[in-house]
């Protein structure tokens, strides 16, 4: 009985007893969720347009952040470094299209998945060769990112919101809105959606697959850069950040591989669920459950909706 009480009643008593703590946990979960959603967004963009499950998204994020930090450490002014990094991401997109996607067109999905693995290894190696393996500090001030915290007195307690987290949430929202407009309203966006729907049909109306892939990988690279800046500002920039991309995978299966809103909603659910679970239920079984709780949550959803919350319904034919 005691154990049931501690699982089903005690955490809620705690939540009711200290609402400020609950709000703080929720807020941290939401911010974490936004950042997961950003990584998941990069995955979704590429998966939609080229059907590639891009495992390298996490390392692209680290690579972008490292390039930016490495350039600023060399004395390049931050805005210029930002532009240069965007240029590097473009070159990366071109190289990936030319040397990985084009030769592997029409191969089974798992081959392309494996190819992005090879890409991950190459990027890790090259990144470490150029920038070294030591953690670096993100120059937040030079990038006009706010620091410090806002303390709110609500619910009889103190809730502290990092300004950086607020900025992250704002930037993420702006980026998602921008991408939505780009996809819905522009000529290239329409072409992207056409490619996502059907490669051959898109080819037959004169859309160049190669160009589209470059654009998509470049967009994913820019998203990776933004994510990298945000994560890098919260903790140092190093290859350990790559692990975070593994956290974005449950977000993907929860939201569905092909859905941008799914990535965002999924990210928020996973972020909040993870923090709440760790804070209120984690101590019961020894803590550290953050590493797999996200997967358990996603799996639970998946048993009821095998295509994710917002994924397209899977219709199978013989």
């Amino acid at each position: 009985m005691d154990i049931l009480y501690r699982i089903f009643i005690d955490p809620f008593v705690q939540m009711g007893g200290a609402p400020d703590l609950l709000v703080q946990t929720l807020w941290e979960g939401l911010v974490g969720g936004v950042l997961y959603a950003l990584i998941a967004l990069g995955f979704v963009l590429i998966f939609k347009a080229s059907g590639v499950f891009n495992f390298a998204q996490g390392i692209m994020m680290v690579f972008a952040a490292l390039t930016l930090v490495g350039l600023t450490e060399k004395g390049v002014p931050a805005p210029l470094a930002l532009l240069l990094t965007i240029g590097v991401m473009y070159l990366l997109a071109v190289a990936v299209e030319r040397f990985v996607l084009r030769p592997l067109v029409n191969q089974p999905d798992i081959m392309l998945f494996m190819a992005t693995f090879g890409l991950t290894y190459v990027l890790i190696g090259v990144g470490e060769l150029i920038f070294g393996g030591n953690p670096k500090k993100m120059p937040t001030d030079a990038l006009f990112l706010p620091s410090g915290a806002i303390d709110l007195k609500i619910l009889g307690g103190l809730v502290s919101l990092q300004k950086l987290d607020i900025a992250a949430a704002v930037i993420a929202s702006v980026m998602v809105a921008g991408l939505a407009i780009f996809f819905q309203r522009t000529r290239i966006g329409r072409a992207l959606r056409a490619v996502a729907d059907d490669h051959q049909a898109a080819l037959s109306v004169g859309i160049s697959l190669n160009q589209i892939w470059i654009i998509v990988w470049f967009t994913a690279g820019v998203v990776a850069l933004a994510t990298g800046i945000m994560w890098g500002a919260r903790s140092d920039v190093s290859f350990a950040l790559q692990v975070i991309s593994l956290k974005a995978l449950p977000v993907l299966i929860l939201g569905g591989f092909t859905s941008v809103p799914g990535a965002i909603v999924g990210g928020l659910i996973i972020g909040v669920g993870e923090k709440l679970g760790e804070f209120y239920w984690g101590p019961l079984i020894g803590g550290g459950i953050e590493s797999w709780l996200a997967y358990a949550i996603a799996l639970a959803f998946l048993l009821f909706r095998p295509q994710g919350l917002f994924g397209e319904k899977i219709i199978e034919r013989i």
Binding site: L104, E128, I253, A296, L303, P306
Partner: protein, 358 residues
């Protein structure tokens, strides 16, 4: 010319169903086994046996397990290393609780423990497919790894958190622990791997293997033809985890001697996946070729600069290993997407028709 089955008549059904119906295959296999059992222990140095051959065989065994799942049944799993861990920890627990029992019994038993765990984590495969399933198996990877760290009972509350293999003897000869010589360990691993490969080969060529392949090619069609998906998929998970579990037990008991939870992390899973893909999906020989390539490649890259007399720092070599491994994976995927096994098939065809082009 060199590889032609002309004149080899099959006069019985048994001969027709043989796994190696061609004489040249049998001779080739005999040569490989002779080399593995006699030449390598005789001629190979300690380094070759302890750091190349034993890991290669262990990894090949795990790759066969993964190949059963991915190559034959079409279920992508990213949690192989965790199942290896289950095998390793099960073997450790069993052999410390009952130290007087023959350690080989526990290695096999730990395979069964691993396969029970595998079946549990295979259950979602009935509902979800493709990459969704791949990510779902990551749940197994992270959950099990968490268990290895947090559940003290698993490592006997050892303060270091690692498991250390106690010494065991087989017929009076030490086979595990510090007293065991590399040669003895090599022979134990080799015998287990050969027996299990033979078993796997029979399994995938028989009725069960065919039902797996039907499920891989299209599970709904397979279901319509009367294959029960539930047993077929779960059996694939069970067999795959069994192989992974035995490989994990061998890895700790015969190769490393001690292991931390980190030994079974996600990178290990990915490396095994590489071996299967580079080797060739749905091919047992491919599992061996893939394991050889992926395991030996970094060793060569590490020693190459010294051999060429180019002074390179250790860190640089480490990074270069990453770059070269990644580039080679890309290269192999582009050049031969069906893996090294396909190269072998092409080579066989060339040998068959030589000296004519076709």
């Amino acid at each position: 010319m060199f590889y032609r089955e002309v004149g080899q008549f099959k006069t019985t059904y048994a001969a027709d169903q043989a796994i190696f119906p061609i004489r040249q295959d049998r001779i080739g296999l005999a040569i490989i086994l002779f080399a593995a059992f006699v030449l390598i222990p005789l001629l190979g140095g300690e380094f070759l046996i302890a750091s190349v051959m034993i890991p290669f065989l262990v990894l090949a065994l795990a790759a066969i397990g993964l190949n059963v799942l991915i190559g034959y049944t079409g279920l992508i799993s990213l949690g192989t290393a965790a199942f290896m861990g289950v095998g390793a920890y099960a073997c450790y627990k069993l052999s410390t609780i009952f130290p007087q029992v023959n350690v080989l019994v526990w290695i096999v038993a730990s395979g069964f423990v691993s396969s029970a765990v595998g079946v549990v984590f295979g259950l979602p495969s009935l509902r979800i497919k493709g990459f969704y399933l791949a990510i779902a198996t990551l749940a197994a990877q992270f959950f099990l790894q968490w268990c290895f760290v947090r559940i003290g009972w698993l490592y006997n509350h050892n303060p270091s958190g690692a498991i250390e293999v106690p010494g065991h003897t087989l017929f009076g000869i030490p086979v595990t622990g510090p007293q065991a010589t590399p040669i003895t360990r090599y022979y134990v691993v080799l015998v287990i791997v050969v027996v299990m490969t033979w078993f796997a080969s029979n399994l995938v060529h028989g009725r069960i293997g065919r039902s797996w392949m039907a499920v891989r090619d299209m599970d709904i069609a397979a279901q319509l033809m009367g294959i029960k998906l539930l047993p077929a998929k779960l059996l694939a998970f069970a067999v795959s985890s069994f192989y992974a579990g035995v490989a994990g037990a061998l890895m700790v008991f015969m190769w490393l001697g001690a292991a931390e939870p980190e030994a079974f992390n996600i990178n290990q899973s990915f490396i095994l996946l590489f071996m299967v893909i580079i080797g060739g999906l749905g091919s047992l020989i491919g599992s061996f070729l893939g394991a050889a390539l992926i395991h030996v490649l970094p060793i060569i890259v590490r020693f190459l600069p010294d051999a060429l007399g180019v002074p390179v720092g250790a860190a640089t070599v480490e990074h270069l290993t990453f770059v070269i491994t990644g580039a080679l994976i890309l290269f192999f995927l582009v050049v031969e997407p069906h893996g090294l096994a396909q190269l072998w098939r092409i080579a066989k065809q060339k040998l068959r028709v030589w000296p004519f082009p076709y």
